[in-house]
Amino acid sequence: MRALGCIAVAFVFTVWLLSACGPDLERQSQLERVRVLAVRADPAEIVFDPQGSVPPAPVRLTSLTYAPDGGPEVTYALCRPGANVYAQDVQCPGADGLTLDGGVVDVGDPSVRALLAADGGVPLTDPSFQPQLARGIQLNVGYLATDGTPGDRGVERGVYQLSLRATEAPNHNPQLVQIFVGTNQAQPLQGARLPLKTKVTFTPSLAPGSVETYVDAAGQTQTELLVYSWFATGQGKVEDFRSQEPFNGLGKRESDYTTASVPEVVTLYVVVRDGRGGTDWIVRSFSVGP
């Protein structure tokens, strides 16, 4: 095991280094091309009753998107189990997926069940599969967003993993209710006017009950760790792309933003995820000027 340490050190340092590199590269917080910023499932997961007495409720998928000239079209598809959704030759939406009309995943739909059961993937009614259902399985839902612009700036492909679980305590989406300017929650961001070339702090606010506790697969009680992602249009700069709800004295929920040197109207998109498939977002606009 002598070399494991050396390799692992190189590995972790590479992760660390590359996460902070590339000052000249497009930042993830910048909005300049077709983007899917978040996908939300309502309800947050498919709650499956193994006894079949209560049919699982359909789940509707919606997206927070951006395109320079207005929202792109988003197509969803349930990918066949076992497909490597990160391989170039796997097309989902496409030949390797079942298109979801209106973004609705209905496990009661026979075509959906047939897809899931193919190749022994997800046999929902097989009693031997029940322990796995209790722990939860992830269904891959592929998406394709496009606004018709040619080239890679007008299209984005990705995957959303939808939880399917037999449980009596389903997950819920958190609720992001407000963005404040500063840390004292006195000034809402919507409609605010901020000075030029100034670093300001934005603070998100959640509805009560957004941070849930749950019992994990090992039987341990855990608390959700909510992570925020910050995106903005315009010439300003999001200084902190990610933030997190404080937990055990660690973490900062605020994000710093530096306004542009020219007057503009900025749209800010903030997404919150609970790490278990639960998502919410908020969009706010403000102006920058003298």
Binding site: R2, S19, V85, E156, G158, V159
Partner: protein, 861 residues
């Protein structure tokens, strides 16, 4: 058999012919005490039995000229001088006179391992004019009233055979082996005392002699070319057919390496440039983990502090660095690449010595000396202060424990009886880094909170060497714990707590002058306890999507690695010019979860043939196996029945002695690799032995061996390294395949104890696998790359110039070395890799360090 054992020798002045202004005082010039070599080589240096006085050249004498002629002298096993060559001429007829005199010298022969042997020495013959000698009192008359010692300034080394003169009285004497001298019945009053030592500045002072009192003095004379190191270049007729050995002075002075022994090896042919100029040792197209890095024949758990800042063993405690790129003796095994064996040196016994070295990265202290007649000790400790600098400057504020490293070594040697030496070597290393991340990392939102790395080890090595006549038995036992821990956010961790127990015993027996046999036992045993929740690490040639998108592997249990080996070897010289070294090594690889043990048999053959006195042909063929690495033999990470990787090595080359100091070597090699572990399409098992590879190339080395002023070399490698992961795949390039590697190094001593060195390097860029597309994972808000053909693109080539300047101030009892090491003098930031935007739509090169000057001070006593 002529052993090319070179001992730096200083002789007392060889007096000229007497004239009214000069007298001749022939003294038997003693030899400078040879550097204490390990017991396996020189046991007695040659001694002059008959000193032949040279005729002082008439032209030089009339012009009152003095001079020193540097000579290379071959002495047979009977003590006869067989060849004399002038290395450093003095002109004015001195060279011819010295040559003629040396041919009439007779020596008591040197002894190697207790037996007379032919040697080669360097000898300085000095021509000095002395004043007329007045009548001297008969020996034994009067009390000693002037006595003292003569030492070298800066090192306190006693100087033997040095002439001490009382010019006004016309008297002189020489210092003895302890550097002491004495005069009887010196007249009272003020008297001038002069010290004349070849290779040293002339020294003169006045002493006050009082009646009825003894005047005791200590004189420190300054070397004309100061060097705290002895120059010892080992002989070629050792067990290895093809080997490059570097002396400690060469190691210490190479620009850009800060004296690190392992980094110096990177400048030799066959070694690729390491990424980020770090510590990776990539020999003949194989990975770092495929080569064996040894300290005195046993491996150490970690080679470097934090990804290659500096190696964990203080290079000042090393005697030499042996580099064996391939086709080495059966003594070495359990690797398919090359071998780097650093040899620790004996502690000094001529008094207590030490130094303190302060530079921008760390401070180190060394103390050594004799504790008793047969007992000596050396201690070294080093600690970095990157943490203090970062904390003071506030450059990075969220370090809980800023990066710092610490290492220490203790060596105790006991010559407990004739023919028996016992050595205890303890070494320890501790590196730490801890960050508190108050925000998730951009590229991996699961990396948040605690981020820490800790590695450390302690080893205790007990070694016994028995040497008597034809026998030499060398036995070493090693025990010690090591630990590696990494915590990456709340979801990933890796903890390895290991205990290592090694045993190695080697017996050599000289059956006849033309036949030496050797055999040995080599056992390595490790019991790591592994606790991990982490992704399977990426493998060379298998680019992976980010770890955050891959399944983690959990493991928490003890493992076992047991690698016993036996080996045997012969060294035959059927004729004096031909050395044939056949050997065989049997290895076993036993792991925790195996269903059956894995074994290998590794025959080896090396040949050296001295075509002429200057040209040697060399070649070898041999089979090597390397055991599983990392978690490869575990069911969680790999395959419990994974076989050892295999390499068939072949090489053919020639060495040429262009001049006594300049040599050249050209060697071609071809290595066939097989049974390389590769990932399966789906597991378990997660690995198989499908991989094969081939590495081949040409290596050229032209080297100026360390002399008084100059050393250096030019190394060029032309190479190719390829792999084939699975049957049906296409051949592809190894990641660190570098077609051209050129290194040129030179270091020169200037007057007044200045020294300047330069290193230029050029290397073809490494290969990488480009990203051609990507897919987004919404749950984690990260993108997964889709890769093109493996290693199908190459980074731009690398070139860099480094310079080092040393200035040494020499004082009586100590010396101070100030150095300036400038890496990347013309500020060309090398391309070390490729970095991508968050969605892999854009990429740019990742650059290395800009110009980096490092200054340091080293005070030695």
């Amino acid at each position: 058999m002529l052993l090319l054992l070179v001992i730096s020798a200083l002789a007392a002045a060889a007096p000229g012919q007497s004239t009214p202004a000069a007298t001749a005082s022939p003294t038997a010039p003693p030899q400078k005490e040879a550097v204490p070599l390990s017991a396996e080589h020189l046991t007695r240096p040659p001694a002059i039995k008959h000193f032949a006085e040279a005729a002082y050249p008439k032209e030089a004498e009339e012009a009152h000229l003095t001079g020193t002629v540097g000579l290379q002298v071959d002495i047979s096993e009977t003590g006869a001088v067989t060849q004399v060559v002038v290395l450093e001429p003095a002109g004015h007829g001195f060279d011819e006179a010295a040559l003629e005199a040396l041919r009439r010298f007779e020596f008591e022969p040197a002894e190697i391992d207790g037996k007379p042997a032919a040697v080669r020495i360097t000898y300085n013959y000095h021509f000095v004019l002395k004043p007329v000698e007045a009548a001297q009192p008969a020996p034994g008359e009067g009390p000693i009233n002037l006595l003292g010692t003569v030492r070298e300034k800066g090192t306190r080394k006693p100087l033997a055979g040095v002439e001490v003169l009382l010019l006004e009285n016309g008297r002189s004497t020489s210092t003895d082996g302890r550097g002491e001298f004495a005069f009887r019945d010196v007249p009272t009053g003020s008297i001038q005392v002069s010290v004349i030592a070849p290779g040293y500045e002339k020294f003169a002072t006045r002493e006050a002699i009082s009646a009825g009192r003894q005047t005791r003095v200590s004189y420190y004379v300054e070397a004309q070319l100061f060097s705290p190191y002895e120059t010892v270049v080992r002989g070629k007729a050792r067990k290895e057919v093809s080997e490059t050995r570097l002396s400690v002075e060469e190691v210490q002075r190479i620009p850009g390496t800060l004296g690190d022994s392992l980094k110096v090896v990177q400048n030799l042919p066959g070694v690729a440039r390491a990424p980020f100029n770090g510590g990776a040792i990539i020999i003949r197209g194989t990975g770092t983990n495929d080569s064996g890095i040894y300290l005195d024949g046993e491996r150490i758990p970690f080679l470097y502090h934090f990804v290659g800042l500096t190696s964990v063993y203080n290079s000042d405690l090393l005697e030499s660095v042996d580099f064996l790129p391939g086709n080495y003796s059966a003594y070495y095994g359990d690797q398919i690449g090359g071998v780097v064996d650093v040899k620790s040196r004996s502690s000094r016994t001529d008094g207590f010595h030490g130094y303190a070295n302060i530079n921008l990265l760390d401070t180190s202290v060394v103390l050594e000396g004799p504790l008793a007649k047969n007992l000596s000790v050396a201690f070294a400790v080093r600690r970095s202060y990157i943490d203090a600098i970062l904390n003071a400057t506030g450059l990075v504020s969220n370090f809980a424990v800023a990066p710092r490293y610490l290492d220490a070594q203790l060596k105790v040697e006991w010559r407990l009886a004739p023919h028996h030496t016992l050595t205890l070597l303890a070494l320890t290393d501790d590196d730490r880094l801890e960050l508190l991340l108050d925000r998730p990392a951009n590229n991996d939102p699961t990396v948040q909170g605690d981020f820490s790395v800790h590695q450390g080890f302690t080893q205790f090595r007990l070694r016994h060497v028995y040497q008597n006549g034809p026998w030499r038995i060398d036995t070493m036992g090693l025990v010690g714990p090591s630990e590696f821990s990494a915590v990456i956010g709340s979801e990933r961790s890796l903890h390895i707590y290991n205990h290592e127990y090694n045993f190695r015993s080697t017996a050599e027996y000289e059956v006849a002058p033309w036949l030496t046999s050797a055999a040995g036992l080599d056992i390595a045993y490790q019991r790591p306890r592994v606790q991990a929740n982490i992704e399977r690490p990426p493998r060379e040639g298998e680019p992976q999507i980010p770890g955050v998108l891959r399944d983690k592997v959990s493991i928490s249990r003890p493992l076992k690695f047991y690698l016993p080996s036996v080996w045997a070897e012969l060294r035959l010289r059927p004729i004096p010019r031909l050395l044939i070294a056949p050997g065989i090594r049997s290895e076993s690889y036993i792991y925790t979860d195996q269903t059956r043990a894995d074994r290998s048999l590794n025959p080896r053959l090396g040949v050296r043939f001295d075509l002429t006195d200057r040209v040697t042909l060399k070649g070898g063929v041999g089979l090597n196996h390397g055991p599983a690495q990392m978690g490869e033999p575990t069911s969680e990470f790999g395959n419990p029945d994974i076989r050892a990787r295999k390499s068939l090595q072949t090489s053919l080359g020639a060495e040429v002695k262009l001049t006594p100091e300049i040599s050249g070597s050209l060697e071609g090699y071809y290595n066939r690799l097989s049974q390389l572990p590769e990932s399966t399409a789906s597991g378990p098992p997660f690995l198989n032995n499908d991989g094969i590879g081939r590495t081949y190339g040409l290596e050229l080395l032209v080297r100026h061996s360390l002399s008084k002023r100059l050393f250096g070399w030019v190394a060029y490698t032309l190479s190719r390294s390829e792999r084939l992961n699975h049957p049906g795949d296409a051949w592809r390039l190894f990641t660190q395949d570098q077609t051209h590697i050129l290194t040129a190094i030179a270091s020169y001593k200037l007057p007044r104890n200045w020294q300047i060195g330069a290193r230029f390097r050029y290397a073809t860029g490494n290969n990488f696998t480009p990203v051609i597309d990507s897919r987004r994972n919404d749950n984690l808000d990260v993108f997964a790359p889709i890769f093109g053909a493996i290693n199908s693109e190459r980074l731009p080539s690398f070139n860099q110039l480094d310079i080092r300047i040393d200035k040494i101030w020499v004082y009586d009892l100590w010396n101070l070395d100030f150095f300036l090491d400038i890496q990347n003098v013309y500020n060309r930031q090398s391309v070390e890799g490729v970095t991508y935007s968050y969605n892999y739509r854009q990429r740019q090169y990742f650059k290395g360090l800009p110009i980096l000057p490092i200054i340091g001070l080293k005070g030695s006593f």
